[in-house]
């Protein structure tokens, strides 16, 4: 398959130019950066009507910056650039990001971008689940102002996102919580180059007595059309001293929050059973990072 209707491949130099191009081509336009997602769609015949590709990789959006109250990641930052950034290294809070970056092969890490990975809204992707657990917020750039969209509102359905006509994602921000916290991510996969059978990301903050103050538990990877928030697991953690046993209890609780899909990778029943296992293990990893 190929893009038979493609007429233009643009390499704009700034956001204003992107906005003008999106306005000119409307739904015939598609934003690209690393290209790893669109080629998969083209190969499967899922994208055919695109008239204009707008390559945003030269807008200067490759950066990872730590500010007092937030981490800012530019949309065209590649996986390898994020992994190499000193800002997320050794920091327990960003454990879930580092974990998710362990899985893709070098060729994907060198090309794929944070913005592409998030705005693709593919339910089998890994990093967005970590970003959900970390309360990530998308910055959507329109022709005038930009607006912030919490990731929890960003994924209405498979391959759909909350961006409206004329907008593109230019940044992801992750707030820095005031309490002591850590996060972790785990993926279950058939081989090194496949999408997830199931994945899970958790973030937990604790008080000075070691009790769970706040938590966010998300399960993704074929568990549903979009990643699912495991509210029962969070309730099981709430106010309790964070221990190995509590991780088991919360993992079991997470199973009641999911009603997973069956597909060629795994049955829904298997995914449900593994939800308990992955959430438990991710919580244990988080617990060890808090030590």
């Amino acid at each position: 398959m190929t893009l038979n209707k493609l007429q233009e491949y643009y390499l704009p130099a700034d956001s204003k130019e992107v906005a003008a191009l999106l306005d000119k081509h409307k739904e015939g336009a598609m934003i690209v950066a690393g290209g790893t997602f669109i080629h998969g769609l083209i190969a499967r015949g899922l994208v055919t009507d695109i008239e204009a590709l707008i390559d945003v990789s030269r807008l200067g959006l490759n950066y990872v910056r730590k500010e007092q109250d937030q981490l800012r990641i530019g949309a065209t930052t590649t996986f390898i650039q994020l992994e190499a950034s000193a800002e997320i290294r050794d920091e327990p809070l960003y454990g879930a990001i580092r974990d998710a970056l362990e899985y893709p092969p070098p060729q994907v890490k060198n090309s794929a971008t944070i913005g592409g990975c998030v705005s693709a809204s593919c339910p089998y992707f890994d990093l967005p689940v970590s970003f959900l657990a970390l309360s990530g917020v998308v910055s959507a750039q329109g022709s005038g102002n930009s607006r912030n969209i919490p990731l929890s509102d960003f994924f209405p359905g498979v391959f759909e996102n909350a961006l409206v006509q004329g907008e593109f994602m230019n940044e992801l921000t992750i707030p820095v919580p005031s309490a002591k916290s850590a996060s972790a991510f785990l993926k279950l996969e058939t081989n090194a180059n496949d999408l997830a059978i199931l994945n899970a990301a958790v973030w937990v903050s604790v008080d000075s007595a070691g009790k769970c103050e706040q938590s966010r538990v998300f399960v993704g990877g074929g568990v549903g059309e979009v990643p699912v928030r495991a509210v029962s697991a969070e309730q099981a953690l709430q106010g309790k001293v964070f221990t190995q046993e509590l991780c088991v209890t919360a993992g079991q609780a997470a199973k009641s929050d999911v009603d997973p899909l069956s597909d060629h990778r795994a049955s829904g029943a298997y995914r449900k059973a593994m939800t308990g296992v992955l959430v438990e293990r991710a919580l244990k990893q988080t617990l060890s990072r808090l030590a």
Binding site: N4, H39, Q107
Partner: protein, 154 residues
Amino acid sequence: MKQIINIDINNEVHEVAVEKSDTLIRVLRERLGLLATKRGCDSGGCGCCTVLVDGQAVYSCMTFALSLEGKKITTVEGLRHDGKLDPIQQAFIDADAVQCGYCTCGIMLAARQLLNDNPHPDEEEIRKGISGNLCRCTGYQKIVDAIKLAAASR
């Protein structure tokens, strides 16, 4: 409608007319006749088409040619220098790391990036470095041996 681009492949700038939707592998094989880079799955799953762009391994089936103006591309044809094989190429011969050979060119370039970044990788790092490349013949052991040999020969 085609567009003319200048594209630096193996330290030689080629002026080539490409379709807007052309991927790098199409330009290499069909427009320039550089056939070492192999087309496998054509959707980023097998790694046969791996090349280096500015020293980093990428899938050429997932890279738009028009995104590459000003970047340096290395294919297997460009691995040898001063008439001598790259240590990785020599090690693949010495370790008998090739059976059908279809995956070999891609794996050697993934290995090239690995050794550029990390001249003395351990076995786990080697296996991770080639995790984006499938081989259906060798079971990988001789490929891992070859990369170890190349690392030791430096």
